[in-house]
Amino acid sequence: MADFRLQIVTSQRTVFDESVTALTLPGESGYFGVLANHAPIVSVLKAGKVTIRRAAKEDEVEIFGGFLEMSNNVATLLAEEIKGMETVAGAKTGKEE
């Protein structure tokens, strides 16, 4: 399956910037999935679980509202706060400089 780039940015810093296969997000009118080559979209997200799927594994993080923007195969998840990022492979800890 085709991959696309996912960036996760919180109000404090960028926490994730990797290639992923699929996303499931808590939209205001229900959970929805995003695959590569999705039409350009801006969606308001409510509090809930975000599932990030990559080749062999699946990660789940929690957000408390935010936005998803996707265009040209780059998805940006903007969330003021995010939980559970520590366990996700490839997450930026903010310690490296």
């Binding site: 801006v42 308001v44 936005f67 903007l78």
Partner: protein, 292 residues
């Protein structure tokens, strides 16, 4: 000699003490500056992403009709100024420059109200025009937290939404480099589509976004988030400026201590030598008188 040796010795000792303090403050500020700068740079992408996104969306009709884009010149509503300064002094001309910029702003808009962040700016205007201050946040002590920024953002937004004010501007420090910063005045509300800094290239081929769940809902959620993040970033930048100003001021103070110490030491040595010379002359002339 101008001064006695004892007085000079005392002054040199006190200057050495002062120098130790300014040197220590300089090093503390340097460390804090590094941390503040990191926080500021880390916070940038969030605001920047929202800005780009809003830039792309701002030209849509739903955005143009949104109340936060509404220009209210005809109603003669007062302006509101968010004035960001530091809580503590000893940071060179940082606060004075900001106060000058704020005074200039108040000359432009004589009926403007003030919201002060930081003790220095608050006290400056509390002595002059206390009736204009509608709110303040003090003693943040250069610690960034989202809640304070959100609180300020929500307050400003509420004033604007209640039609208590017609526009909101921010005067805060702009970080140019570790050795330079200057006051910056920026428009906060109403929003302007052109202020999102969209490149011509992007403006030429707009992206036709799906807006979920509805265009109105997207703007209602996106705009306040963006506005709060602008405050957060302004505070982060102001704190960075404060630390860099203090570092420079303390560096200059340390240098002055060195110079003053050197010149006083020279003076003292001269006085000491003069005293010795006088003593020798006295002894020699005393001996000569006896022989004579």
């Amino acid at each position: 000699m101008a001064k006695g040796i004892k007085e000079l010795r005392l002054r040199i000792r006190s200057i050495k003490g002062t120098k130790k303090i300014t040197r220590a403050m300089e090093m503390v500020s340097a460390a804090k500056l590094r941390r503040a700068q990191q926080e500021m740079n880390a916070a940038r992408p969030f605001t920047r992403k929202l800005q780009v996104l809003l830039g792309r969306l701002a030209l849509s009709p739903t955005a143009q009709e949104h109340p936060l884009f509404e220009v209210r010149t005809e109603e003669k509503l007062p302006a509101l100024l968010l004035f960001v300064t530091s809580d503590r002094g000893l940071c060179g001309g940082f606060n004075a420059n900001l106060a000058k910029a704020a005074e200039r702003y108040l000359r432009d808009k004589p009926d403007a109200q003030l919201y002060c962040v930081g003790r220095k700016g608050y006290e400056y205007f509390r002595k002059r025009i206390p009736e204009r201050i509608v709110g303040h946040s003090l003693d943040l002590n250069t610690k960034l937290d989202g809640e304070t920024a959100d609180g300020i953002g929500n307050f400003l937004l509420a004033r604007f939404n209640d039609r208590a004010v017609g526009e909101v501007d921010i005067i805060s420090g702009e970080f140019v480099s570790a050795s330079t910063n200057r006051p910056r005045r920026q428009r906060y509300l109403p929003l302007e589509a052109k202020a999102f800094g969209l490149s011509d290239e992007e403006a030429a081929k707009p992206i036709d976004y799906l807006l979920e769940p509805s265009p109105e809902r997207v703007f209602d959620a996106l705009l306040p988030t963006y506005l709060r993040s602008v405050i957060y970033l302004a505070l982060a930048e102001s704190f960075t400026c404060e630390h860099s100003s203090r570092m420079l001021a303390m560096n200059a103070a340390t240098k002055n201590c060195d110079e003053l110490g050197d010149s006083l030491t020279l003076q003292m040595n001269k006085a000491r030598q003069a005293a010795i010379t006088t003593e020798i002359i006295e002894i020699v002339s005393g001996a000569a008188a006896l022989e004579g």
